[in-house]
Symmetry: C2
Subunit: 201 residues, 2 copies
DNA sequence: CGTCAAAGTGGAACATGTTCCTATTATTGC
DNA sequence: GCAATAATAGGAACATGTTCCACTTTGACG
């Protein structure tokens, strides 16, 4: 286990530690939701989570690890909420459009949180690759499931994965544009519609 | 003129000021090239450019402005070097693949510089939108020119622009993956090949 | 030339991410 | 239960982006 990685669930034997980790991530989400990336200050997170600054750094070796881990937890929860519910729509384009639109709208309801998590994701370097990869997998599987219309049963094809990656990239780029105030919510929707039309026809 | 924006050429009447601006950007590129994003420290830039720290902030209101402006200058120079030279290749896919491959290879020759500029680009917020937009335009026009095979004469179609944007997004996302050490140079090439195949067929 | 405003200098001061150290508390192996 | 080990608390210290200020230089104008 690399010391640069943040502690994952498996490493945390004791309930008290899982509890601390939860409190830290809760504080992170709460602060991010109020004031975005800049409001997630390590001292503030530590205080709100009721742990010492050193402990915070023991659990998450940097602010970026912390935020990307929080993003990972959010994605997991969203994935769990989707589980078992088939995505409506008759064509891959419809289903992907629908789920992306739904997710985008959910993100846009909490702009500060989205800004904090998105920027951390884009700024993360190699030391965060495990957490990043985790998030990437959930995103890709969300898209391939929407494309194929099936859930879990049956692996996606290479082609489906390739298309999902491209769509995911476009989605991320346009989210970045939105969270940084360079483009509007409608612009994001429009980009996604165009990308889906070009890729899923 | 918004005080938050960096001084552009037009604002700089005196030759001494243009000269200072050039020295600052030169120092930025030089430091970035040596040690990447982290090595571009404002005090170091000021010292190497032989200006006071306050003056540096007068010209560029933040490190991100500074780096994105440097990226803008590099893009302009690259665009000027391309001017007039037709892109070889018989199909849009070939031409786009060629020019993207060429550009990617050039960037990969100076990983530190690329890392610094790319991260600044992705981290930039709304106060940098002018500079970001400038870079975005050059990138899009590079791609539409490659697609159509013509230079300047004749505006690109809506469809060409839409495809160029998607390809640009994928390219940026995969560059981010590369500069942050999460994917290899070959991965970038592969992503681009796949995106081009999916979009330009 | 003398004057005045703008620009530049040098450097202190501040904010926040990160590191480090010591004392205290919890956990674990015997 | 006790000794050893690990984890946490509390907080100082450091690094770097950013702001601010007092002073000097430059350049434009009458």
């Amino acid at each position: 286990m690399n010391a640069l990685n943040s502690l994952t669930q498996e490493d945390l034997g004791s309930a008290a530690q899982r509890e601390r980790r939860r409190r830290i991530l809760d504080a992170t989400i709460s602060l991010a939701s109020h004031g975005g990336f800049d409001a997630v200050q390590m001292r503030a997170v530590a205080e709100q989570a009721d742990v010492a600054l050193g402990t915070l750094y023991r659990y998450f070796p940097s602010k970026i690890h912390l935020l990307v881990s929080a993003l990972g937890r959010e994605f997991e929860e969203a994935q769990a909420r989707r589980a078992g519910k088939p995505i409506p729509g008759d064509t891959p384009a419809e289903r992907v459009g629908l789920i992306l639109g739904r997710t985008t709208k959910a993100l846009q309801k909490d702009p500060n949180l989205t800004e904090a998590l998105t920027r951390a994701f884009m700024f993360a370097d190699a030391s965060v690759s495990a957490e990043i990869h985790h998030v990437g997998l959930i995103l890709t599987s969300m898209l391939t499931e929407a494309m194929s219309g099936r859930q879990d049963e049956g692996e996606p094809t290479e082609e489906e994965i390739a298309v999902a990656r491209v769509i995911g990239d476009v989605w991320l780029s346009s989210l970045v544009g939105w969270v940084t105030g360079r483009s509007s919510a409608e612009d994001v929707e429009k980009s996604m519609t165009v990308a889906i039309r070009l890729l899923l026809r």
